[in-house]
Symmetry: C2
Subunit: 638 residues, 2 copies
């Protein structure tokens, strides 16, 4: 066993993988009964055990006969065969040994005296000879071939009972952590589980990934943060499995025991990978079996599963994944594709950086933008279309940089429009309806001004705007004139929505008007610069002569109505300006201050885009109208 | 119910599909418990039921505290917090209500009097607010989204118990046919099952296809060709399933009852599709449920499953597959790709023609050639890389025509070389070894002369040659000089092999020399023009002054040694010229006549191709050498 001294620290992922490959040899191939072999991969070549067909078979419905009997037959001189010189065969039926040809039923007539044949039928005609499709001993498939449905059926016909399959490592996942609730406990805990608890979601995540890889994952019952119980679970795993995955406990917290347990009881081969997320991953051995420790955040778990676990399992399975294509295989995607970054991206220095991307195509250019980079964000992982894996030497990628990405989801970029603009729950719902029509709206929330600027730069198909001009008191017109001086955009009003003060239920501080925000001690939650709602707030404050700088929380930048309202709901703020729907969603009080038109705009150039057409047709959808009326604060006319 | 009169006949596949779509409405969506939802597709949008996190969570390991307590802290003026003013939190742990920030452990030291903090910790620092990742009520996923592992984990964390999934039609397959053996009977029947019997392989094929579509297929026990029992099985199917597939019985044979049963008892909607294979498919209704009849040949079954069954199931499941992409979805492939035909192709007039293709890439050009077009060939279906679906109006495609194809297998064309040339069992084995090194040799058997000509036309990476020059009595040299006058090809001898007369075991006709072939009544099996073995035969005959035209069977063109030897084994011929390995594989007698060098050759331009390098390294592989020595008749030197 390795001593702690041989443990490599702070190493690139590829080196960690090489350490594992060097240490643990591929598993032996195994025979699999043919009927269970669907989806397996052949370890060796397979030859036919029987001829197919194994008898001379009729290729048509007709009469089997001896060709010499009909050698002289023609329409002018039909030949009459007596009853013992022919027999009926269905397509696929056996041609008797005394016969060597089959005449089609159209060239005969059967009567009481026998069969009248009007055409010469040469030897072998309409007969599939023995072994026509497969000869016993013929190579039918080769190492590395997947057992497709067709191959499986072929091998059955060729009399092959079992196949030599690539090994499938048996893998055990041991989730650990005192703070973890089982799925049952999680749902039993009602609307709000105890603070500090987290559901054991990584089993589900990993099981899904394994399923996608065509493998099973066995999950051990949850183990608390107790070295004795962790050791016991590792013993069980090493006994019955080829690989053990240990969940969490790999960081430096007071309950992180994985490193010490492995170091003392088996061998720690490496820890601290130069990747982000996934840095706290580690690898070791326990009673001769490989153990990989996965960091607890789901994104970290997924990244280590894709980047380390699956390539290692493919090594154990002797899969011949070409070098450099390991990630395509892990992610189940084709070759990486190229896009341009819609925004600048800073990469973690010296770390391989796994970035979650959303993608769209504008004209012929695929563009992408990163979602949250935090390892704790599971939403970003579920929401992203693709992954960028930035090499360790990457530092700053300016806007417009080329970036190669691995697709995680089937993207239909022909039927996707990119919306940049204002946050709005009803528009979010509209995007869901568009999906029902086979198209997609990719939404990037950048505020109304950000959306118009993106349109002007040619970086979006679509934006929204609800911008009040303080000079004129009129919404949108002046802003559109500014961003689209050539008048090349269409515009369409979707609805009106109520804006107002969102305060805790019961309005404990008794706020009534915009002037009340200036009262001492009132904690505001604001929106990001460029948001129409922030423009409205500035207008309302300015009309009352209230300098924004004096307001506590004016600099807090929430990027959505719901995020700002949630600050109020959770007690982090006393008030925010936002739409009624956000207040109603969270059971907060709402003091109406304005009704604003919500318009969508876009360049005429993209009119006729299938996703835009789908969106327009959804506007008339009564189900959607009902749905957003139920959100509260939306109306169709002033 | 439809009367027989409303049955459409001889119609395009798309019209048959439309008839089914018009007649049978999509099934309702269904709730699926989240834990079983992996791989399902959402029918409606899903919103979060809980905030994630549902409590303010520490983003680091450290001490939770009230930010106001540390407002003045700095390295120069540390602040001491008493024991009741802080508490330890692990990453992800709950920050208590009295605290609003977490200081990293590095910025503190804990002593007997309390915690010394050397850095001001602003409100919210290192705290993930409630709902940071997901807000209750937030749209988390939309209709049409697949439930990926990440989405499944996200929904679990967001407290979602079940999801609205697209329907999955329950499908029953009823195999029929008196001639069909169950898998158990098939394997019990020893080396050669009774003539005229066929194994029930379509269940396995269809189950594999359904598995690939993420669906289950239930299989009814085998039903004989008996209308009463077929009706009974249809009753059972209509009772418990959404769709019934009936296997075979759709042609015009004496045992084909499907049409009459459907016409009398339910409704026949269409029969005879304008497609090849698959023509005898039919569709109808039985007690209100859709019934599709699949023709019995496996290739026909597969084609109808891809072209009709799966698109119809997607209709029932309300899948939003974009029009025109149904086949990509059925075949599980991306958009069709473009290739050039290596040979001319005649398409069946007026029929949509499904062609099985092998593919390779030469320089930058993807080329493809069709495998057998017979519906009875299961080998061609298992062996092909891709499908071409030629529209009904296609007639003749000259060599070099562009053709779009759907990939059926992951092709690694960067690591594939195209071999055109001589048939040789040892070379077949070599191709299997190459697979073990992650590369591939696509073999197209065209004879030695055909291979050299293909090389000269730039249509292959590699050919083989064992051609005797009758003038000089020397192998290969003069042919290579003719096809490669500029000497731009490399050549390498792989081995020598014995050629001779292959005769039935015991040599009943007592054949000894080439002269014996001229005896009256001797039935020869010959090879195709351009095959080195045919060149050798001509040379041997010429040396003896025997005119080929006088030999019975001289015009029979077998394309491989095994096919020719199999003619002898099955009694269709008395003798063939071929290699010893073919005789030994089939237990035939062999009279040695020549030992010939087997060389491979190729343009220097392709030296360094990864698949060629893999092939060269396999030549030294002792396992391969042992394997081919065991075939018989191969030797390494004269």
């Amino acid at each position: 066993m390795d001593s702690a001294l041989s443990c490599r620290e702070h190493l690139p992922r590829e080196e960690a993988l090489q350490i594992l490959r060097d240490r643990f040899a591929p598993l032996p191939a195994r025979p699999v009964p043919l009927e269970q072999a669907s989806g397996e991969v052949l370890a060796e070549e397979v030859v036919g055990a029987r001829n197919v067909p194994h008898y001379p078979a009729a290729a048509v419905d007709g009469y089997a006969l001896a060709s010499e009997d009909t050698a002289q037959a023609s329409p002018a001189r039909p030949v009459l065969l007596s009853r013992d010189r022919f027999c009926w065969v269905n397509t696929g039926g056996a041609v008797p040994p005394s016969c060597d040809a089959v005449v089609m039923v159209e060239d005969t007539s059967e009567g009481p005296d026998g069969l009248v044949v009007v055409r010469a039928t040469p030897r072998g005609q309409n007969v599939r000879p023995v072994g026509e499709d497969v000869l016993a001993g013929q190579v039918l498939a080769r190492p590395g071939d997947p057992v497709t449905p067709a191959l499986q059926a072929l091998l059955l016909c060729a009399g092959v009972r079992e196949i030599p399959a690539l090994p499938k490592p048996r893998v055990l996942f041991i989730p650990t952590g005192d703070e973890i609730l089982s799925v049952e406990e999680w749902f039993r805990s009602g609307a709000t589980p105890p603070p500090g608890t987290v559901v054991e979601s990584n089993s589900l995540l990993l099981r899904g990934l394994f399923r996608g890889w065509g493998m099973d994952l066995h999950v051990h019952p949850l183990v608390p943060d107790d070295p004795v119980q962790i050791r016991q679970a590792l013993d069980e795993g090493a006994e019955s499995y080829d690989v053990v995955l240990l969940g969490a406990g790999s960081a430096k917290g007071k309950r992180d025991h994985s490193a010490s347990v492995l170091r003392e009881g088996g061998g720690l081969l490496f820890r601290w990978l130069l990747m982000k997320p996934g840095r706290p991953a580690m690898g070791g051995a326990w009673k001769g079996k490989p153990v990989l420790v996965l960091p607890g955040f789901p994104m970290s778990t997924a990244v280590v599963a894709w980047g380390l676990v699956h390539p290692f399992l493919e090594h154990l399975a002797s899969s011949s994944v070409p070098s450099g294509e390991e990630l395509c295989s892990s992610l189940g995607c084709g070759e990486p594709q190229e896009c341009r970054l819609l925004v600048p991206l800073s990469s973690a220095q010296g770390m391989e950086d796994w970035v979650r991307l959303k993608c769209a195509r504008i004209r012929d250019q695929v563009v992408a933008w990163p979602l949250s980079t935090g390892a704790s964000s599971l939403f970003a992982l579920a929401e992203c279309d693709a992954l960028g894996v930035l090499p360790r030497e990457t530092l700053e990628l300016p806007k417009g940089s080329p970036l190669s990405f691995y697709t995680l989801k089937r993207m239909d970029l022909d039927r996707t429009v990119l919306f940049q603009g204002s946050d709005d729950p009803a528009f979010q719902r509209l995007a869901s309806r568009v999906r029902l029509r086979g198209a997609q709206v990719a939404i990037r929330t950048v505020g109304s001004l950000g959306g118009l600027a993106a349109l002007a730069r040619g970086e979006a198909h679509l934006a929204a705007c609800h911008l009040l001009d303080p000079q004129t008191g009129i919404y949108n017109d002046s802003f559109l004139a500014q961003f689209d001086p050539q008048r090349q955009w269409w515009r369409r009003r979707l609805y009106y929505r109520e804006q107002g003060l969102i305060v805790p239920s019961g309005n404990p501080l008794g706020l009534r008007t915009i002037r009340d925000l200036a009262a001492r001690g009132i904690r505001l939650a604001n929106r990001q610069p460029g948001a129409g709602t922030r423009v409205l707030l500035d207008h309302l404050l300015g009309r009352e002569g209230i300098p924004p700088a004096g307001l506590e929380g004016y600099d807090i930048q929430c990027v959505s109505h719901m995020e700002a309202a949630n600050r109020v709901a959770s007690g982090q703020a006393d008030v925010t300006l936002g739409i009624r729907a956000a207040a109603e969603a969270l059971g907060l009080d709402f003091i109406s201050l304005a009704v604003e038109p919500f318009e969508i705009v876009g360049p005429r150039e993209f009119e006729g885009h299938p996703a835009l057409e789908a969106l327009m047709s959804c506007l008339e959808d009564p189900a959607w109208r009902l749905q957003i009326e139920a959100l509260g604060g939306y109306r169709w006319s002033l």
